[in-house]
Symmetry: C2
Subunit: 206 residues, 2 copies
């Protein structure tokens, strides 16, 4: 079984590349599922900051996935209205695939009708927008509601993946992945010119 | 002027993709240099965990770079002996490009003769190996020695990039980049099955 990462034009790079590294280490050092990039077709995908990546599979051929991670980016607000991507996500949800979103990828879950009645996280800039859609949004780094995991913006997907691995595989495996990725961040918060440290509220609440 | 990211077969994904996101945000929100992927030719590059990316430029055509970041991976121990890659790195060093390495990318700097007499960081697994080559290795998340910045393994390049931006552009810009990338990690350290938290020594020294 494979761990799929959904990609589309304009996707934010680190949204999927951060979690990809965690899954890659899990696969290499602790028998985790193999990561693969999935897109609507096999054309190169140009991401938000211009990096071009090649999908490994398209929607039609990828088959059953154990996990499907949906990254965000400004383009997610268009993709959430595309029936091909939403049918793909909903189909995997119905088949029992564990779903995850990073950043505004939560809006693609919304468009796929798999967030209804669930608690979710999203990018701090669009918390209000997701609430207006009737979703209970929590200001946390990530959260879980049944088989649906959602995280805050961009780099938050890394923390979500480690937490997911710890919960499902035990801390020993999460520890192995964390060590190989050397994910021991400084935790430094930079100040803006007014001497403030502008942070999403889940940081200061922690 | 562009911020070049050197890639080669087997390169570790997050080594360059983490810093890429920081440079992408710096470029988008604070007039930083544009990021570009540079390789010896324009063929797709298959990374350590299988992600395939497309180079934007090759060595012959990329022109002068303001910055050149050299990621690592097991493949770096082969690349450090390849004259094409080392000539490319050394040429940019002589031309005044700011050099950075992540993880075992430090060994490509070594093979390019630009680490001699300098202090450096590298992946915790190969600190001894870099010391045997006569380099002063410090057990820190990242360090700077003149125009050469080096970091510890994999995710450490993210912290290095934010620090670089703070030092050269001011904390206001680093704050902007950090906020847009939502890089406010939990800082949780997972325990292994013996109840230990296995971490590189720079973590416990901090």
């Amino acid at each position: 079984m494979s761990f799929g990462f959904l990609i589309y034009p304009g996707v934010e790079e680190l949204d999927f590349q951060g979690p990809w590294e965690m899954v890659g280490m899990w696969h290499k050092y602790a028998n985790g599922p193999a990561p693969c990039l999935v897109a609507r077709n096999l054309d190169p995908v140009r991401c938000a900051h211009g990096m071009r990546v090649l999908p490994d599979s398209d929607f039609a051929s990828v088959g059953q996935l154990s996990h499907l991670l949906i990254p965000g980016g400004f383009a997610a607000f268009d993709e959430m209205n595309q029936s091909d991507i939403c049918d793909f996500v909903r189909g995997h949800s119905l088949a029992g695939t564990t779903l995850m979103s990073v950043c505004s990828g939560s809006f693609i879950l919304l468009g796929s009708n798999v967030l209804t009645g669930r608690r979710a996280c999203t990018n701090w800039k669009v918390i209000g927008k997701l609430r207006e859609a009737g979703i209970e949004v929590v200001k946390e780094r990530y959260t879980r509601d049944g088989p649906v995991w959602t995280s805050a913006g961009v780099s938050a997907g890394i923390d979500m993946l480690l937490a997911y691995i710890a919960v499902t595989q035990g801390e020993d495996v999460a520890s192995t992945v964390q060590l190989h990725a050397e994910y021991f961040p400084e935790g430094r918060v930079y100040r803006n010119s007014r001497g403030e440290q502008p942070v999403p509220s889940y940081v200061t609440q922690a």
